[in-house]
């Protein structure tokens, strides 16, 4: 009986959370086009998010490209298909691995940062102080951050893809004696419009989800300083889960278009 009621409470809380998050997203769409616009803060956030994530994306992208090529090479050699390496790595990185891995890194890096920052501002009454001073904190803090993640994530994804391809090309160059020019020519020949566009559109949604969840968790942070930690932690978990849901929906929709 106790377990059933706990389960029921958990399910109820889950749906309340989804409802609140949807309400928060609706408020974003309601206020995003209304003046005043905080362009200066938006640019600052874009710089902060892009700049701070750059090293992490570079290192991760390079290693992913390197490892993917090293792991696939023996199997492809076994089947005499090693010349397909650039095609396989290129398509898998651009369509799936690049966007998802970059988004997951940013969920850990950015969503937790936003959650902790806004949570701390809520707890120390900085958000209240902002409101009392006549500035709409939702516009200044939330809209700028969600816009910044939405705009910056596709750029980081494209950059991460290029770094990963470079890592892969390096392995092929050292182990397979394939020149960088030949490798990249083969990759770009293999890639089509239908590989790039869905991946880029998907990245915008990933960025939006990361910003939305980070802001939502931080903006409504409660229970003092402990709540700040909870906000940062749950922002990462929730954003990561949401990324996989969005990825599934994006792949499902793009599959329908491929079949048509």
């Amino acid at each position: 009986m106790g377990e059933t009621s706990t389960l029921f409470k958990g399910v109820k809380e889950f749906f309340i959370e989804i409802g609140d998050l949807s309400h928060f997203a609706a408020r974003f769409f309601k206020e995003v086009l209304k003046p005043p616009f905080e362009f200066k803060e938006l640019l600052r956030q874009c710089y902060q998010m892009g700049n701070r994530s750059l090293i992490l994306v570079t290192v991760t992208g390079f290693i992913i490209g390197l490892v993917l090529t090293l792991q696939s090479r023996p199997t492809l050699i076994q089947f005499g298909a090693v010349s397909w390496m650039p095609n396989m790595v290129g398509i898998s990185i651009v369509r799936e691995i690049g966007p998802v891995i970059t988004a997951l890194i940013c969920a850990g890096r950015i969503a937790s940062g936003i959650g902790a920052e806004l949570g701390s501002m809520r707890v120390t009454e900085q958000i209240d102080a902002m409101e009392v001073s006549g500035t709409n904190p939702f516009k200044y803090l939330v809209i700028t951050r969600i816009m910044a993640t939405t705009l910056m994530l596709p750029i980081l994804v494209i950059y991460g893809d290029l770094v990963a391809l470079y890592g892969s090309a390096l392995v092929e160059n050292l182990k397979g004696d394939v020149s960088f020019q030949l490798y990249f020519n083969t990759v770009f020949d293999a890639l089509s419009f239908s590989d790039l566009v869905p991946a880029t559109i998907k990245s915008f949604f990933f960025g939006f989800a990361i910003g939305l969840v980070g802001c939502y968790k931080g903006y409504y942070s409660k229970k003092g300083t402990a709540g700040v930690g909870v906000a940062a932690n749950t922002a990462v978990v929730m954003a990561s889960l949401l990324l996989f849901v969005i990825d599934f929906i994006a792949v499902f929709i793009s599959d329908i278009f491929y079949e048509l």
Partner: protein, 264 residues
Amino acid sequence: MSFNMTDQDQITNRSESAQGGKAVIEIKDLYKSFGDNHVLNGFNMTLMEGENLVVMGKSGSGKSVMIKCLVGLVKPDSGTVKVLGKEINSLDQQNLDELRSDIGFLFQGSALYDSMTVRENLEFPMRRHKEKLGVVADTEPLVREALENVGLAHTMDLMPVELSGGMKRRVALARTLILKPKVMLYDEPTSGLDPITSKEIIELMRSIQKKYGTSSLIITHDVDCARVISERMILLVDGINYAEGTYSQLSQSTDPKVDAFFKK
């Protein structure tokens, strides 16, 4: 008790005759609950022009909720809240923001923006109130003047993390003064400060009131602060204004609930 007040008209009449001024803040029958927790149960209060009014109450008695109702940060369940003649709950966002520029709010923990320098903290409220301040091309003289008023002009380019607790409180005070408010609201202005710094803050509050002629509402549970600064006091107990009078009147009370505040 002669100073027990439950009727708003009595409070208003007495205050008006005592001060001979007009009311800048009027609260009538204020109710606010959070779930089953009834925080305010018909609270009444009037702050007269140029007056220093202290509202005292235990932790969790609803003092901060009451003061946040005055600037529209908390919406009351019922009751009326008038500040400078305007009913807070009936104002649209633009008018509310305009009114807020006449209200200075010193938060309990100073609430300085961590990611901004002291200068940027002081410039921040000016962004939305350029009409009130006139066209200000260079904000530095205004920032410098506000910081000089609290004796911290040298901290202009420091980050809040580099300031002590007392300095943060003074910078926060300078930030509220930059818009030249008519009413000052202080939420526990001396909490978390040592006795010497507390004294400095209280002195600063008094000198600000003299210099700018502001009316002040001070929320505190610090009896020493109340003794030094108050012209009139209200004790907030069980969500109502349980007792009202001057410090000496209240401190001599034999009512156990009132006496509990003044026992050393």
